[in-house]
Symmetry: C2
């Protein structure tokens, strides 16, 4: 029997996280990883397990998460996307697929990720935005939020912006860009960095909201960073407002 | 016993039509009208039946549909919106409520309605737009679509753009504005008129798509209008791409 050499395929995946318990396989509840494994195993007739780049939380969305898997199937790398999309639910789409070297893994690469946190700030929520924005009727001042955002750019110990359940060697991270934009009722917090702690973007969003609504002065961000204490920062903003929008390998 | 005089209240309603069998009450399946009646009857303890301005089809969305109802409840007109939103599902929101004169009805007024038909035109669908756009991977030429759109502006017999099931006195209608815009992968057909026939906007969208993909030359629109025959126009584009975005009383 011929033992065919395994190849490694990389997938670029977009999804609406509304109906999923996040990326990673769970005992209870459906996940993006489980859906990809199911579709790939059906396609290849092999027991495929993908390995993802970013393990997004329950309810979080993505325009470009990455995953890799190994297969002996001899389909051209770029054809997997078409074949998979036929087998995936409508809220998950493989935007691209291609062969990579057998030892390449997105989590072993230096990378820059960009997240957007979107807030719908009006008197009433818009039903057509509800799944992809966090709603608040308290008027937010985006000039104040932008001033506050400026203090977070650069290399800092983000311990105050990290969920207390986390176990990680260091809580120092680098944010390369962070801006707050307003278009009509929609406020978008866009943040780029080389690495993020658990719940970091949602805690940054929750804290910037407290600056925007007047609870904190923008300068208070400096004190929050200094205290290295999660309880000093604002609340963790809800998952539905968060989308992983860009992933760049350096 | 005091018989309290009934007042008429007008509602401005936005909804995500994905999970509804349209506006109008049906024997089977949930509708926007049924949800409003349920919430209003619970609020007022009266058997309320709203009367809507535009009876949108199954799966069609709205940013501003209108409805009126009569009640003896002495709540200030503008407070109904807040009370109703507490009782409505998240995909329906009353954006505004106010008292009108007891004989006012939106369907008795001259009005201008604006619809948007949104198309996601890329290699793969975007899961985060899927509920509010129609997806097509065939590259559409929006310059050609705009040329074609120009022939539809004005007063015409739109019989070719009307579902054959309809019963209506005249099929002459006036389109005051019709444009096709492209932003990235998103194409938006925006049409304003003083009245629309059954499925008219979706047939216009389906026909403009056939112009955009090269099946019809833009000038073919003139012939389609002249023939007054539904079978000459393009297919009825899917409901999910359609949103009633503006309603103006003249």
């Amino acid at each position: 029997m011929e033992i065919r050499k395994k190849r490694r395929i990389c997938l670029v995946v977009a999804y609406d996280g509304t109906n999923y318990q996040g990326w990673q396989i769970q005992q209870n509840g459906n996940t993006i990883e489980a859906e990809l494994n199911r579709a790939l195993s059906a396609l290849t007739k092999e027991p495929i397990e993908v390995s993802g780049a970013s393990r997004t939380d329950s309810g979080v969305h993505a325009r470009c998460n990455y995953a890799v898997f190994d297969t002996a199937v001899r389909m051209p790398g770029d054809k997997f996307s078409y074949a998979l999309n036929q087998r995936l639910p409508e809220d998950i789409r493989v935007r691209k697929s291609y062969e990579v070297s057998p030892d390449w893994h997105p989590r072993k690469c230096s990378s820059k990720k960009t997240y957007e946190y979107r807030i719908f700030n009006d008197e009433f929520p818009d039903p057509l935005c509800r799944l992809y924005t966090h709603f608040t009727y308290t008027k937010l001042d985006t000039d104040r939020m932008n001033t506050a955002a400026g203090y977070l750019i650069g290399e800092h110990d983000f311990k105050s912006f990290c969920s207390i359940h986390t176990q990680t060697e260091t809580t120092v991270r680098t944010i390369t860009d962070l801006s707050v934009k307003k278009e009509g009722s929609l406020i978008t917090i866009r943040v780029t960095g080389t690495g993020f702690l658990y719940n970091m973007v949602r805690i940054i969003a929750g804290t910037l909201i407290e600056v925007g609504n007047g609870k904190y002065p923008p300068e208070h961000i400096k004190e929050i960073l200094q205290h290295c204490d999660r309880s000093c920062a604002g609340p963790t903003a809800p998952a539905r407002g968060l989308t992983l929008v860009e992933y760049e390998f350096l």
